[in-house]
Symmetry: C2
Subunit: 337 residues, 2 copies
DNA sequence: TCCTGGCACTCCGTGGTCCTCAGTGCTAAT
DNA sequence: ATTAGCACTGAGGACCACGGAGTGCCAGGA
């Protein structure tokens, strides 16, 4: 059905269209790529490709444009991830080193990725679930309130004020803190529920109410808010593109954190590059965009995702290379913390 | 020079242009507004207004459009802040109540403001400088590291890891923590430098190095990062507007936090509404936008600013009303925390 | 003195026509 | 199977005419 040459034609169509943003015709193709055949032959191949739905014509006497299906084939079989230039690698390193805390690492990463790809970059904060507890701090705030601060090994800090505990006794708080840390320091957050299960009976009855309240907030804060935090950069790069959908729809989608989280979350193969093209995205406003995403983490433990959103007409090999490289570097930086 | 009627004409021009986004002519003005004079008279007034630079013509046979100077006069003398409808007030309340922590208050506020004004909203986190210390926590992390967590009365939490302290002695940390809290709990952050000045001599010599290191990081974290944090929402609303400058430039400016901070910071009259129109903004990309900003705070203590960015052609009275109302509500919410 | 109706003028935007041109599909020849 | 040749198609640009909105100016009236 699709012989070697037809595939070469498809590849050429994708590459040219990405470069020029104009429908590409058989003559231009024969000129720019050494396909070794005449425009007429290319035309015949194009008819076949169009029948199979890989390319399409905006109107009768125009050149061809890849369809989502065409891009999909291109990404899967016709291209390879483009490694970064050494200049780009150096840029990454100088950009990411010197960040003092997690917030800054994330902020720099997202800006770096936006700059490298000239598109919109998304970085998700390291998931709490997969990291482990470094320390739990309980601070009596006066009145009936206690502030709980959970510090993870990825440098993330989660804080919550717990109210309505009845009388807060300072030594009771100290005891509870010590007990908590003994039970869960060093554990993966996923293991925390099991680890604290049998704590309440060990607390003297007069403070048990407080202990239960603190534990329930602790557990709640681990499950509830774990993967919510996301950062964007490079939205200005969208202004240069003309979308089939209105720019407004795209910007609106990007402001919905829940949408982005789902987008990143839908990776097929963890720890691999994932590419979702055009209508493969469930969200209306993102029907004419593609998303390239990857996991990052420490060792082979995935902590969260990063990704890039751009027009379906994007430089897939280059974008994939940038996303992969940045994901790796961030992992290294986090490991070094 | 500018009699009552000319001012009325200017007001009418601004209002109509904001509504229709089309140059407004003398006939349309005479029809829509009860000015009590004929189009010819209005034309004469328009000539005067144009000579004084308040309005201008895109081309010879077109209607008039307000200039920045025209908007300025309109805002200063010809309009009043428009109070919100009761429906809008109710929306604010239901939107802001139920937020559990500072992050959520800020996030909800910025989205609320974007929604009310249908423009881009900016909210600055409450300044550390003007709030006071609730508690300082020091947590030994093992090795030579200590984590410092400063909790303020506005619910903000500032954390820092301090490294390279030499041997970290647990009791020394406990002593230092107690001493620190005695010295600065309840104080305004601005007073902290004075309050800790005479602490080092009170620390036993063998732990003095650690104490000095902790103090210097504490002071540094108060001055350095105090007003950096800013949140945006509603950029999608920009897509509907056509700017003189390219949309890209505007989006780029909005991504530069430092620019936004300066913009908000340049309020003339603290605790009042500030409006900066078009070229009054120092930043290139924002020459065709206006910014309406206001302080918010608890009592008469200003903590930070909120603002709205939109085209110079914006509904000033409505926007000002929304900004003022939201600023007040946020203040109340923060006070209740 | 100020306002107004009338009038000639200007220029934008629209719609129609024509033409060019890139690109196609088809057919016949190699 | 490939290619050259050719007729056909539709988008887009140039050109033009025209209607309409809006102006500036002037002369007459309150």
């Amino acid at each position: 059905m699709l012989d070697e040459r037809k595939l070469a034609v498809l590849r050429a169509v994708v590459e040219d269209f990405v470069n020029t943003n104009e429908p590409v015709g058989s003559r231009a193709l024969a000129d720019r790529h050494r396909l070794g055949v005449s425009p007429a032959t290319i035309r015949n191949d194009m008819v076949a490709l169009e029948e199979d739905g890989y390319i399409t014509q905006p109107h009768t006497s125009a050149g061809r444009v890849p369809t989502d299906k065409g891009y999909r084939l291109f990404v899967d079989r016709l291209s390879s991830v483009k490694p970064l230039s050494t200049a780009e690698r150096r840029a990454i390193e100088s950009f990411l080193t010197g960040a003092v805390d997690l917030d800054e690492i994330v902020a720099r990463t997202v800006r770096l990725l936006a700059q490298l790809t000239r598109q919109v970059a998304i970085v998700q904060y390291p998931s709490l679930t997969r990291s482990s507890v470094q320390h739990v701090e309980l601070v009596p705030l006066g009145g009936q309130r206690v502030m709980m601060v959970v510090i993870t090994n990825t440098g993330r800090v989660e804080q919550r004020v717990i109210d309505g505990l009845g009388e807060v006794n300072e030594t009771a708080v100290n005891d509870l803190r010590a007990m908590l840390n003994r039970a869960i320091a060093g554990r993966h957050l996923g293991d925390v529920p099991d680890a604290v299960e049998d704590l309440p009976p060990q607390v003297p009855p007069e403070h048990r109410q407080m202990a239960v309240a603190v534990l329930s907030v602790l557990l709640e804060s681990l499950v509830e808010r774990h993967e919510e935090k996301i950062v964007l950069a490079g939205t200005a790069n969208l202004a240069a593109v003309d979308f089939a959908a209105s720019l407004r729809d795209v910007l609106e989608a990007l402001e919905e954190n829940m949408v982005l989280i789902r987008l990143l979350g839908e990776a097929k193969d963890p720890s691999m590059l994932t590419v979702r093209i055009g209508a493969e995205n469930f969200h209306e406003g993102l029907r004419s965009t593609s998303i390239v995403s990857a996991d990052y983490g420490v060792g082979n433990q995935s902590l969260a995702k990063i990704g890039v959103v751009g027009p379906t007409r994007m430089d897939y090999p280059g974008t994939m290379g940038a996303v992969r490289a940045v994901a790796r570097y961030v992992g290294q930086i986090l490991a070094g913390q």
